[in-house]
């Protein structure tokens, strides 16, 4: 089959969601080709904080996120590598009574839906979990079973596993056109064309272009979240830390380096495939960190970087079938928090394609919400 460039499914995008989908479909016996314009992890999949977080998710994402965490806890079974995953916990601190009240409402809402993974804790318990924290803290939401992984190691493990499962992964394979030919999709590359009855758009910040080629429409914004990493320092914090009132995601790794993120944006130049940093945003992140941990002021940031990610206006992804085209599916627009969901999104797409239904509710992610 492959000699004739005819496959069962063409996946556009070799990031984590494309690779996860390739793994699941290949294991289900489908001949899959993945078309990646650069290399896996070039943008969002490689440039993220590696947060494995259920905490604070949009309510529509919670069932997927809860299921995904089960895979993360056994990630080696899925991709043959521990992906640097640790169950270090995730904590979101409240620095005022008003912020803590917001957290109470949030946790009550989750309880009403039957989810109890987010736990309210008081200021004393916060100090026990994060003794290094400087300002007074009213309380927090604590997800002890959440964690963090290493993005480039994860991407590499997904890549290896997809290949080993039989997926044909083409690097440097940019899709210039998509056509419908005799009941098949044909993805046109510079010097090749691949066909399949099933087309899956996992093209991240470039997914809106793929949408237009098949007649869908998605209001996607390409943004460039920035991250910084410090020199190694003595271990002082275990969980991933965020705050209600601040843009921050903060994690110390085993080697002592501290990763600082939280959504400050750099420059996204999608036309030339480049993301640049902005000094102001990095300055804001640095100021946030030194407000919470003044003892880190002299610590050096070794490296800053940014990657291009797809942001949707409602900050939740598009997952599911095309609104208009038969045999076409989407998984993109994860808006800065798709890393943790990657093992489960591939599974749900595989279910949709092979069984015609998804085992978890995905109606909220339909592309039809933009039409």
């Amino acid at each position: 089959m492959a000699e004739r460039n005819l496959f069962d499914a063409v996946i556009i995008g070799g990031g984590l969601h494309g690779l996860s989908t390739a793994i699941h479909l290949s294991k289900a016996g489908l001949q899959v080709v993945v078309l990646e314009k650069d290399h896996p992890g070039r943008h969002a999949s490689g440039v993220n904080a590696g947060g494995v977080r259920r905490l604070g998710r949009d309510l529509a994402e919670v069932p997927l996120s809860v299921e995904a965490l089960k895979v993360w806890h056994e990630i080696e079974d899925f991709v043959g590598d521990d992906c640097g995953y640790t169950t270090c916990g995730q904590i979101q601190i409240a620095e005022s009574e008003a912020e803590h009240e917001q957290q109470r409402e949030r946790v009550a809402k989750l309880r009403a839906l039957g989810f109890d993974h987010e736990r309210l804790i008081d200021g004393d318990e916060v100090r026990r979990i994060v003794p290094a924290l400087s300002p007074p803290c009213v309380g927090a939401i604590w997800c002890a079973e959440d964690g963090a992984a290493n993005p480039y190691r994860t991407t590499q493990a997904f890549f290896r596993t997809a290949r080993a499962a039989g997926a044909d992964i083409r690097l440097g394979a940019e899709v210039h056109a998509i056509e419908r030919v005799a009941g098949h999709w044909r993805a046109q590359l510079k010097d090749d064309a691949l066909e399949a009855p099933i087309l899956i758009n996992c093209a991240g910040a470039w997914a809106d272009r793929m949408c237009r080629m098949i007649g869908d429409d998605a209001p996607l914004e390409a943004a460039a979240p920035m991250l910084m990493i410090t020199e190694p320092v003595e271990p002082f914090i275990t969980p991933v830390l965020g705050a209600v009132g601040r843009m921050l995601s903060f994690k110390q790794f085993e080697n002592g380096t501290v990763m600082i993120g939280g959504g400050q944006r750099g420059r996204a130049a999608r036309e030339v495939n480049l993301a640049g940093t902005r000094l102001r945003g990095m300055g804001n992140s640095a100021a946030t960190v030194t407000a919470l941990f003044p003892q880190l002021g002299a610590v050096k940031v070794m490296r800053c970087w940014a990657g291009i990610e797809a942001m949707m206006p409602d900050a939740i992804p598009v997952i599911g079938p095309s609104a208009v085209a038969e045999g076409a599916y989407h998984a993109f627009g994860f808006s800065g928090h798709g890393f943790q969901l990657s093992p489960i999104v591939g599974r749900l797409l595989c279910e949709l394609i092979t069984e015609g239904r998804s085992s978890l509710p995905i109606e909220a992610f339909s592309i039809t919400r933009f039409q």
């Binding site: 650069d38 290399h39 992890g41 070039r42 490689g46 480039y152 991407t155 590499q156 890549f159 290896r160 690097l171 440097g172 910084m228 410090t230 020199e231 480049l274 640049g276 940093t277 902005r278 000094l279 102001r280 990095m282 300055g283 804001n284 992140s285 640095a286 100021a287 960190v289 030194t290 880190l296 002021g297 002299a298 610590v299 050096k300 940031v301 070794m302 490296r303 800053c304 970087w305 940014a306």
Partner: protein
Amino acid sequence: MSQIKDAALAIIGAGHAGRAAADLARELAIETVVLDQGHGNGSGNGALVWLIHGDGTICFSRDDTAHELTAQCIILAPGALDRPRLDEAPVAGGAEVPDIQITSALGLEHGWDPIQRFWYPMCGEAGGTSLERIFLAGAVTGRLGQAIAVWQGRRAVRAVAEKLGHDIGEGEQSEPPPAELQTPPSLDAARLNNEQIVCDCEGTTVGEIRRLAALGCDDVNQAKAFARPGAGECQGRRCAVAVAEVLAAARGVAVAEVGYFRQRWPTSPVSLDQLALFQELDDG
């Protein structure tokens, strides 16, 4: 955060090229700021440059104060670095490589010099680049030696003066002096053993680069994402050439095909306190 008075010309680096440029700029009465972090030749002024924009904006700090200035033109003269030694072969003549951190972060195009075995940013004879406000001079251009550095520094200032509309008269019409061509012995990348460390900062080995090449890893930035060469303290200043040569040999392609590390501002380590000084900056 202080807004320094805008200047007609900013010169980054006060080595041979930078000093020659500053001297001529003074003669021509071009309002000039020289920024140099000050190790090495003693002519620096302690200015740590964290970001340069193609539009002429420069963010730097000095004595724990953050500054921003806009220059109508910028001459970049960051110089060259010692070439790291990977194998045991003595390096006979030619132990320098251009310091391309800044030019890479600016997104300028770079070429590979197969004889001198290094990456260099592309520029015209007067130092002009694809960014109209940015000029290059000195060893960063890949033309090594004091005489050519001085000539390039002066030539760039004359180009800047012309661009700014200064009357510089006939000026100098001299031909450029020859650069010192270095011919380092080629690194026999294929013969290095797998245990050899190629990136000191991150401890990445030759074997890891080869493993990545076998996995389909095409360029050095992909290698950096997966195995971290160039991601450490020196940000690839020391290992960029060696990583490229080992990867190219493993893939059986020309070095020019595997590329150079993509840099992002700031290109050198900066403390959180220093970085926080820039939080009010309006850098669009």
